[in-house]
Amino acid sequence: MSMTATLSRPERERPAIWFEALVVLGVAALLLGGVEVVAQWRQPLHQTVEIDLSARALPVYALFSLARGWIAYFFSLLFTLVVASWAFYDVRARRYILPALDVLQSVPVLGFLPGLVLALVALFPHSNTGLELSCVIMIFTGQVWNMAFSYYDSLCGVPGDYRMLGRLYGFKWWHRFLKIELPFGAQGLLYNSMVSMAGGWFFLSITEAFKLGDQDFRVPGIGSYMSVAIERGDVRAQLLGVLAMGVVILVVDRLVWWPLVVWSRKFKMDDFGSGRIDQPGWQRWLARSRAMQAATHRIGLWLAPLAAVPGPPPASVPVAATAAESSGRTARGIYYLVLAGLVGSMVWGAVELASLLMRVNLADWLDILSNTGLSFLRVLAAVGLGTLWTVPLGVWIGLNPKLSSRLQPFIQFVASFPAPMIYPWILLLVLKTGGSLQWGSVPLIMMGTQWYILFNVAAAASAIPNDIVSCAEVLRLSGWRRWRKFLLPAVFPGLVTGWITAAGGAWNATIVSEYVQIGDKLYQATGLGAYISRATNDGNFPRLAAAVLVMALVVVGINRSLWKRLQVFANERCRFLT
């Protein structure tokens, strides 16, 4: 090829005019959508909204569900940044915050539901806001915990040199936050945000349509659309609902997460340019779009004073010092006030809980315990069966980089699809083959949780050093010996991480997997999850509280006694030498 030929190649980087139009249209659509959502929230309270099963209604429902997901995510992010920073900087508070987060993480979504809904609906008796808000908070409880833990970990991981630098240049707390802490936490936070969003979708069908005693609550959204479609046995509507959910996941992934992932790579702490950043074409266009450039320039100007770093602190500032002292005093006052509020509400919650539990008799407790045993077996079976097939597949994917880049988007999609939406289909399959929900709930649980094992094992396998792989080949390790001496130990740290997440998720999933309603038929298995669902439906709050408490305790107990120890062992023994 001659050089002049390539030089005269027409320029192809500036996007076409239709792309500019698309950008403007997108922004307009976003604004209109916002107006629509606000209108829905301000409508008079309507406990059981009529769901329109026609395809035309779906885009609006998708918009409502999306809005809830993102509002919940916004709160999750806010909570994460505040609480994790608090836990990091306040050593005294840390001792209470971390275990509290750990316990809250293992409380299933339904545990928060009755109190929240009743309180918030009472708070906003004349508009949908209360109901919508309680729905948002339930999604929030499915999103927030792992984000908080991830950000706390990255705060702990900020090297001392950078903190020292911040002190030297007299960084204020928001400089430290913007210039040091957020960049360090960005990648972990982003990854966990993606997982959280998927976790938030998982219970969509519950959070948007549920019964509390004799009260039926339903807000418009894809989840309620789906549950109505299942109730009426409308297969066409079910298919449409699944399709819409798929589109929502894909769009969010491509338009939000993917650009953020690309952008966040600049915060990687190793040297740049080691790998090529594969930006999708449309995103490069977006970056070059005139409308976009003008907008980002504006925002940049507006934010600039906030991000500007002050010079080194002046040598002596006696006046400022006293000012800081007095402001410190008020800050401490506020701090103690907040602390007192938190402790007070916790005590109140404990008293409430105790009074509820007082009404649970011994027979109920025994019933709960035996149900827990059965659910435990199901969780064990689900994690075990999931491990059996995901480990070989994960290793295979991880050791084939080409394959993994091809399969990754697909698996990610399957993993973030809310499995409960298609539970009825699978259950019908199980019933057709002569099974019952007693066994059938195991595959239902697996559908939501096994992906964590697959992801973590694949990641661990792809991190095996090349020389170790070559060495195993030269040593002619094969068959079972290859697995026992080489592959299993090599992926073990990833496997344990996958198990922890999968098992935690599996306990939560029992709630929707052991109690499935198809049309007017109700299928139940004996287990803690079904017990919780039933207690919610019956509005039997003492039983609900007892069962939720037991589940939380079991999850925390297993984490402490088994998983944490396994994790320590795996990290001590099976990490590769560096």
Partner: protein, 441 residues
């Protein structure tokens, strides 16, 4: 010696490409022919990037070459070679197995008594007796490599392949281990006599080899084979030893550091009959900091290339790259193996930082490759050259170079000299312009 030794490994016109078929393909090995006979100690010697590690992996059957044949005992090799054991630069120990379990891995199918007997013998040989129950994490680098060697020896392989076995160790530990392997080679009753070793250390090569295969880079190929006829154990201070080291110095200088005239010689190719196109000379993959460092190290003295490498404890290939770049820019001259500053080089060393940039900018603009770069930027709309465009151009203009390292090298020099700037977010290269402060109102 009555019988002629049996040929174990034979390579016939082996070529290997990475990413074969894709536009980013890269020829790592070109037409390599080589045999390893019983009782041969073949050392592959060459600068980094000449494909010697790839070659040893091809011999072990770990990599299937793109073209050519690999025979083991006269039979075409498919998959891992049956008689080969391997020692890796970074040890490749399994951290979850004890020393004992690591070493026993290759003989897991033998009867237990046989395993024990071999284990005892091998551990005694490499001096690991007391460490049987330790985990690799608890061992020092030298001890880890002993485990690696024991694991390779216990299988009693016909050929022992070692890929830079001492490179990850500190100098003193490496010396100890080298001597011990040397003693093994010297003892007549030890079965281990066939070895293939990869190294960039000349003395190490002469210490072990019966034949030294000197390799050259871009594309990786066999340059010369030097036989070494000295008896084991060898003494690096003996005159015969020194003579071979000198000879290797000369060969490596010739292949890697041709005389000035040859380096800057313009390669012309016929294009379209009458029109001639001048292919630019690549810039070795080094940074401005490395070149300036070498220049200030030289001062008024005159050094031997290998002397510099030894003094800095660096691989000679790396030093040669810096020397080549400095010579290309006209800062040094290299009569034979010697290196000394030119007048311009002296001026550069004495200059202020700003003046240094000035001088380097002037020299860079005389290189065809920078001329090409600037021209490419100028013809772009808005003078923004996309990264991919430059990578493609580099690949077309210099098919034997690796586009990405060359790209990075050009970028680092161009930025240092204040010629170009790079926008990391939009992936484009522009000509550098000072951003003038706004005029006072």
């Amino acid at each position: 010696m009555p019988e002629s030794p049996i040929t174990l490994i034979e390579l016939r016109s082996v070529c290997h490409e990475y990413a074969a078929g894709s536009p980013e393909n890269e020829l790592v090995l070109s037409d390599v022919n080589l045999t390893v006979a019983e009782r041969d100690v073949v050392v592959l010697l060459g600068p980094s990037g000449c494909g010697k590690s790839t070659l040893v992996r091809i011999m072990a059957g770990l990599i299937q070459p793109t073209r050519g044949e690999v025979m083991y005992r006269g039979i075409p090799l498919h998959g891992v070679s049956p008689g080969v054991a391997m020692v890796f630069q970074n040890f490749a120990l399994f951290p979850w197995l004890t020393v004992r379990q690591n070493v026993l891995l290759p003989v897991g199918r033998l009867p237990a008594e046989e395993q024990e007997a071999r284990l005892g013998k091998v551990l005694a040989t490499v001096g690991l007796g007391a460490y049987e129950q330790a985990y690799p994490r608890e061992l020092s680098g030298g001890m880890k490599q002993r485990v690696g060697i024991a694991r390779a020896l216990i299988a009693e392989p016909e050929v022992l392949c070692m890929d830079e076995p001492f490179s990850a160790l500190d100098v003193l530990t490496a010396e100890t281990l080298r001597n011990e392997i040397g003693r093994l080679l010297a003892s007549p009753e030890h079965p281990l006599r066939t070895m293939v070793m990869v190294t960039h250390n000349i003395v190490e090569a002469v210490y072990f080899a019966t034949r030294i295969v000197v390799m050259a880079a871009q594309p990786g190929r066999v340059d010369v084979v030097v036989p070494v006829d000295l008896p084991y154990p060898r003494d690096p201070d003996a005159p015969g030893f020194r003579a071979i080291v000198e000879k290797l110095h000369a060969i490596l200088t010739r292949t890697n550091l041709p005389d000035a005239g040859e380096v800057t010689k313009v390669v012309t190719t016929e294009a379209g009959g009458t029109r001639r196109r001048i292919a630019p000379v690549s810039l070795p993959y080094v940074t401005p900091g490395e070149v300036l460092g070498l220049l200030s190290l030289l001062g008024d003295a005159e050094y031997d290339v290998f002397e510099i490498a030894e003094r800095l404890g660096k691989e000679f290939g790396a030093i040669i790259r810096v020397v080549k770049a400095s010579e290309l820019l006209g800062f040094i001259e290299t009569p034979g193996q010697e290196v000394r500053l030119t007048a311009l080089g002296r001026e550069l060393v004495a200059a202020s930082t700003e003046a240094q940039r000035e001088i380097i900018r002037g020299r860079l603009m005389q290189l065809k490759i920078f001329e090409l770069l600037v021209r490419l930027i100028r013809v772009q709309p808005e003078h923004c050259l996309p990264d991919e465009e430059l990578l493609r151009e580099l690949h077309t203009a210099l098919p034997h170079e690796k586009p990405r390292p060359l790209f990075r090298t050009l970028l680092s020099w161009g930025r240092y000299a204040g010629l170009i700037s790079h926008d990391q977010r939009r992936h484009v290269i522009k000509l550098y312009q000072h951003e003038d402060p706004p005029p006072p109102a």
